[in-house]
C-alpha cells in the first residue's frame, strides 16, 4: 500500500504541473485555433523570471512568481498583437502560424539563453520538511505544488465558465463570426486568451522551480509532450486537459517505477490508439486549424 500511495502522490504532483501546461495550450488551441509551438519557451521564461526575482532581486517567492506570470502574460499578448493577429484569419493560417511560432521559438529560446545564462538553476525550497501520513512520506514542497496546482486550475475553470471574458472565450471558440455578431469583441478575446495561455505556462514554470529545478532547455523539450497530452483529452477541451494531465502524470509515475524507460513507448502507443478511435480526443469537440 505504501508504495502505491507514494507513487500516486508523486504522479499527482507532476500531473498537476502538466494540467496547468495543458490547459494553457488547450485554451490557445481551442479559442485561437492555432498550434502554438513557442508555448514551451514561456514555461522556461516563467521559471527563470521567478528565479531572477528570488535570487537576484530578493523578492519573496510569491511576488517573484507573480512577476514571472505578469511578464509571460504581457509577452503572450504582444505576440498576438504584433504577429498572430495579422495571420491567423488568413487562408493557410495553419502553416503561417506554425512558421511564425517557430520563428518566435528561436527568438525566445536564444534570448532566454542570453539573458538567463546556459546553466541549470534552482531556488531554495519555500517550505522545508516532510509529513508522514497513510504511509506516505510527503515532501511539503511537493504538497505546495499540488495545492497551488489545484487552486490555479480551479481558478482557471471558474474564469472560463463564469466570468464575462470566459463566456466570450467559449463563444469565440465555437464560432468567431457568430460570437462577433452577438457583440463580443473577438479581437480582445483572442488577445486575452493568448495572454492567459502563456501565463499558465509561466505559472507552471514558476511553481516547479523550487521543487524540481530548472534549466534553459526545459521548454523546448516539453512542448511536444504537452501536445501529445492535450490530444488524449481533446485538443480543445479544458476538462480534457485536466484528465489528460492527471492520467499522463500517473502513467509516468507508475510506469517509471515498474517498466523504466519503456513507459514513454507505452504512453505514446496509448495516445495513438485513443487518437485512432477518437480523433478529437476523449472529450474534445474537434477544432478546425485549417490544415485542408
Amino acid at each position: 500500500m505504501d508504495i502505491y500511495g507514494q507513487l500516486f502522490f508523486n504522479g499527482l504532483a507532476i500531473g498537476l504541473v502538466y494540467v496547468m501546461l495543458c490547459s494553457g495550450m488547450v485554451l490557445i488551441q481551442s479559442v485561437n485555433q492555432i498550434i502554438f509551438i513557442a508555448f514551451g519557451q514561456f514555461y522556461t521564461i516563467g521559471a527563470f523570471l521567478t528565479w531572477i526575482g528570488v535570487d537576484k532581486l530578493n523578492f519573496p517567492y510569491f511576488a517573484a512568481l507573480a512577476f514571472g506570470v505578469a511578464i509571460s502574460f504581457i509577452l503572450g499578448a504582444l505576440t498576438y498583437l504584433l504577429i498572430l493577429r495579422h495571420i491567423q484569419f488568413k487562408q493557410g493560417k495553419f502553416l503561417a502560424t506554425l512558421i511564425a511560432s517557430t520563428g518566435l521559438m528561436l527568438v525566445l529560446q536564444q534570448g532566454s539563453l542570453l539573458v538567463f545564462g546556459t546553466l541549470p538553476q534552482s531556488i531554495p525550497p519555500i517550505f522545508k520538511g516532510t509529513l508522514n501520513f497513510w504511509g506516505i512520506t510527503a515532501n511539503i514542497d511537493k504538497m505546495t505544488v499540488i495545492a497551488m496546482g489545484i487552486i490555479i486550475t480551479l481558478f482557471l475553470f471558474f474564469f472560463y465558465e463564469k466570468s464575462r471574458i470566459g463566456r466570450g472565450m467559449r463563444a469565440t471558440s465555437f464560432s468567431p463570426e457568430i460570437a462577433e455578431m452577438h457583440g463580443i469583441n473577438t479581437n480582445l478575446i483572442f488577445l486575452v486568451t493568448l495572454g492567459v495561455g502563456t501565463a499558465m505556462a509561466g505559472v507552471a514554470g514558476g511553481i516547479i522551480a523550487p521543487t524540481y529545478g530548472i534549466d534553459p532547455q526545459m521548454g523546448a523539450s516539453v512542448v511536444w509532450t504537452i501536445m501529445a497530452m492535450t490530444m488524449v483529452g481533446g485538443p480543445d477541451s479544458l476538462l480534457g486537459a485536466l484528465a489528460g494531465g492527471l492520467i499522463v502524470g500517473q502513467i509516468l509515475s507508475f510506469g517509471q517505477f515498474y517498466i523504466g524507460g519503456m513507459v514513454q513507448v507505452v504512453l505514446f502507443v496509448i495516445i495513438a490508439i485513443i487518437l485512432f478511435f477518437k480523433p478529437n480526443g476523449l472529450l474534445g469537440r474537434g477544432i478546425d486549424i485549417g490544415v485542408e
Binding site: 504584433l82 495579422h86 520563428g103 528561436l106 527568438v107 536564444q110 509532450t225
Partner: protein
Amino acid sequence: MLANKLSHNIKTISFFVTILILAIVPIIVKSPYYLDLIIVTIVYAVMAMTFIILLKTGLVSLGLAVFWGLGAYTSAILVMKLGLSFWIGLPAGAIVAGLFAFVLSPFLLKSGGITFLLLNAVLGLLFIVIIGNSTFLGMYTGINNIPEVDPIKLPFLPVIEFVSKIPYYYLGLILLIVIVLVVSAFNATKIGKAWTAIGLKPRLAESIGINVYRYRMYAFVLASAIAGLIGAFWAHYEGFIQPNGFNMWMTNYFQLYAILGGIGHGIAGPLLGAAIMKFFPEMIRFTQQLGNIITGVLLILLILFLPRGILSLFDKKRKFGEGFIFIRNWAKSSFTINRKEVKK
C-alpha cells in the same frame, strides 16, 4: 501554342543549365567546409520537397523525420550488422520507409487532415523513444562509425573512392536529380493531376470520381520512400546517427525551408529555402549568439509580409507595392483593439 512550347523548352533548358552549374561547383568551391554545407543543403531541400509533395494533396505532416530516420537506420544496420554493401543499403532504406508508410497508411490516412497531423506527431515521438530504449539500435547515444560509401569499381575507369567531400557531393547531386525527375514524372501523369485536384478541395475531387484515399496513399508512400532514400545517404555521409537527430524540430525546419522558398514552387522553392537557411546563419557568424534571434525575426517578418515565400516575388500575378500597403496596415492596426479591424 507556340508560347506554351517555348515555356516548356525554357523549363527544360534551365533544368540542364542548373545541373551544369551545380556540376562544376566543386571546381570552384575548394573548401570542404562549404562543400559540406552544400551537401547538407541538398539533403534538407529533398526533405522539404517531400513535405511539398504531401502538402499538394492537402496533408500536413509532422512526422517526415521518422521516415528519414527509418531510411538512415535501415541502411546503417544492414551495412554494419549484416555486412552488406552501401549500394544495397541505399535502396533498402527507400523500400523499408515506403513499405512502412504503405502499412501505416490505412491508420494514418483514415480521415485525413487533423487526424493525419496528430497521428504523425505521435509517430514522431514514438520513433525516438522506441529507438532510445532499444539496445540493438544503439539507445539514445545512437550508432557511431558508420562506414563510408563503398568505392565504385567500373571497368576501364579509375576506382572512385569516397574519401573526400567531392564524390559525396556528386552522389548527392545524382540522387537529387533522380528524385526531381521522379517527382516531375509523377506530377505530369494522371496521379499528379489527381493530387492537385485533391489539394484544391478534397470533397470536390471525391465528387468527380477521384479516390482520395488511394491518391493520398500514393503521395504518402512516394514521399516516405524519397525521405528514406536520402536518409540512407545521410547516415553514411554523416557517419553517425542518433534518435534525437530525427526529432520533431527537424520536421519543423523542413516545413520552414519549403515555406521560405515558396510552396507554389515544388522544386526550386525547397532548394532556395534550404540554401538560405543553411548559409545565412553562417554569413552572420560574426554575431555568434545573435544568429538564432536574427533568423527568428526574419522568419516572422517573412511570414508577415511575404507569406507565399521568396519565389512569389517573381510570380506574374503579384501587384507592385502590395507589401508596402500591408506594412502600412500592419502598423496602423497593431495597437488597437477594435473589432472592426479583424481582417478575414
